[in-house]
Subunit: 407 residues, 2 copies
């Protein structure tokens, strides 16, 4: 395709923006005989001048949008390409844009409702296509890297329950319960009573139905409400994959909820996507995928736990496990790609492919981290002596005790 | 003993200060027939009016001094008494005094030298009386609560080495190496080369002698110098029980040392006494035992690691293990009490008994915590997949590989 002088300037501008990342840029549409022979260096094909101009104007947002529309094609491995791009420093204008987005994406109770609705209420059937059978949409824990996603999600739920040493008959509150898998696992496998909160109407409806189906409706109450409205006292507070949606401005409220929920005697676990250094979420992800999302640095979490004098017992970084989880999701998604496209359109399908590939890359390079933080009130007694029990099979006695509590 | 009106006012003032703690106050010296029958509630005997007045003037400092001099006696369990007192809120005047102490105890390179000399250069023979045979003067790790102190100190050193996954042939820098046990353990058991820093002359002389004796002088270099003067690149940075002595004002320097030492590719471990909430050290401990000491909140440690974009991999709270360690030390100390008294005087012996009892109590009630923080540079490769390996015996292959590196 012949380019004007102006387009050539733009083209080299985009090349400069991609900076030191070893990727190739090309104008046009890839020749399919080439696509089938992936080169070592991935190539970004820019369909036409309009796409080039949009990309030059705002690469951070428009790369994702153009890819979704099909105006950008990637030859080679998509995850690999994004990994390379992740290593390019973020420009000044991208930072300004990011600040402006933050201002738009309020996480007030109403803002949260809109933000959560955007992502989690797409349709349960869509998520069923590529999540594990239990519908767990957070980082899994692979006891061995070769474990299946289903095994790893189950292992994650056990890891969480054992980290806060749930005992039969105790009470637990869960903030942000997804489709209810963890709440039901805690009640069914550990004999506790659970109140589980979520503002996504589709998820809550699904979770309630499921509780009835497995006969746990009397032990797990699913409540469609904001985490700020949690009341009552519990032995443990658990939140898996919700803190990312709380937003920096609301951490004090979040800490207040935890404080009044478990007091000085209980214990808690926060499982969340975080950062090694405080920084905004990628603007395209925030705009198209997760409005209002902010992955905190560990320091920011310590900051809001400290005034309550919680004793931090354990922090584990599961970044590598999230990269593996995303790989599993992406693989399943690719297998269902044509179905997603037929049901929700090509733009949506490509957008989600890019999001899953981008997340895989972000956890691989460490741009995102996954933290599990366990803490206890300062008067909390009977803490485990060390962590070795987490790596031993559950005792038979423990399982019997649970069965007794349930009967 | 008949008390004047003024003394009675003082006495009830002290009682008020002890506040809701269930302890008994009495004037005079305990009758020995009573001492042998410990009551449920410990009793603090205040010898005379002078002691009462000093205690009323500044209980935070003078309780310790009066106990050391024998002007206060405790009937009942000393650890138990301090546990009860720990639960009393600190008064405003104690806070002011504490600020004034901070100002005196500079941790500049010269200040650090004086502060460290004060504690660690008492005499190696004194520490030999009650530490484990390897002379490890930091929190041990008891695989089982019944393990001996010697086993637990060895297990702690392995825990540290394995947490930063040392591999034969690698290089390690240790900031604050005590009498050299860990440096020699790393070199001898894990096949690494170590540079170990300490500003205590007595400790360094002892460690060098020991390295020669065990034939590791070519693999471990003991350097008598301030941590700020560490230079060179290493695969790992390790510091066990030194951060408490660094002081808040010097955290940025400390982080700078770690940053230039391991860069983006290495990994590090900090093991330190900390707090659930930022607060000064007990003023008597700071004045008589550990000048310049400050146990940070976890948040403060995250604050200084964050600018270097270290990825925090693991945080473990070993508070219960430090309470157990102090119990072991106190028990051994009591067995040697008469010898300590004969060699270093009654005042010193009682001061140290109070310090060890006070530390036991502080870790039991959670006023002090013990954190091990593992982190890695953002480009650090080959991180362990999960933590299960820490709870399995070391592989034979691993030990053979180490032997090869050493030969």
């Amino acid at each position: 395709m012949p380019l004007s002088w102006f387009d050539r300037v733009l083209f080299s501008g985009v090349q400069r923006a991609a900076g030191p990342a070893p990727v190739r840029l090309a104008m046009g549409t890839p020749d399919h005989s080439v696509t089938t022979m992936p080169s070592e260096v991935p190539t970004v094909w820019i369909k036409d001048r309009a796409a080039l101009r949009a990309l030059a104007r705002n690469p951070q947002i428009n790369f994702g949008d153009l890819y979704s529309e099909g105006a950008i094609e990637v030859e080679g491995n998509l995850v690999d390409l994004i990994e390379r791009l992740y290593k390019v420093p973020v420009s000044f204008s991208a930072r300004i844009y990011s600040k402006w987005l933050s201002w738009l994406e309020s996480n007030s109770p109403r803002g949260s409702r809109d933000n959560i609705h955007h992502h989690y209420d797409i349709s349960n059937d869509f998520y069923k296509l590529w999540l594990d059978p239990q519908m767990v949409y957070t980082c899994a824990y692979f006891p061995e890297p070769e474990a299946s996603l289903e095994e790893a999600q189950r292992a994650k739920m056990d890891h969480v329950c054992r980290k806060v040493w749930l005992r039969p008959g105790e009470t637990v509150v869960e903030a942000g319960c997804g489709w209810g898998a963890l709440a039901l696992h805690m009640a069914g496998q550990y004999g506790v009573k659970v109140k589980a909160f979520n503002i996504s109407s589709e998820q809550i409806a699904y979770a309630r139905e499921r509780a009835k189906r497995v006969g746990l409706a009397s032990r797990v109450e699913f409540i469609q409400d904001d985490y700020r409205n949690i009341s009552g006292r519990f032995d443990a507070f658990v939140s898996v994959g919700m803190l990312e949606h709380v937003g920096k401005k609301h951490y004090t409220e979040m800490a207040g909820v935890i404080g009044r929920t478990i007091g000085d005697w209980g214990r808690g676990l926060l499982h969340f996507i975080g950062r090694s250094r405080s920084q905004s979420m990628n603007p395209w992800i925030r705009r198209r995928i997760f409005p209002g999302a902010y992955p905190p640095a560990l320091r920011e979490v310590m900051e809001f736990l400290e005034p309550h004098q919680f004793s931090v017992l354990d922090v584990e970084n599961l970044r590598q496990h999230y990269a593996r989880t995303c790989e599993c999701w992406l693989k399943a998604f690719e297998q269902q790609f044509e179905i997603v496209k037929a049901q929700l359109g090509s733009r949506f399908a490509r957008m989600w492919r890019l999001y899953l590939a981008g997340s895989t890359a972000a956890f691989r390079v460490g741009s995102l981290q996954l933290f599990q933080v366990v803490f206890a009130g300062r008067e909390c007694a009977s803490q485990p002596w060390n962590r070795s029990y987490l790596y031993q099979p559950r005792g038979e006695g423990e399982e019997q005790e649970c069965a007794r509590a349930m009967s």
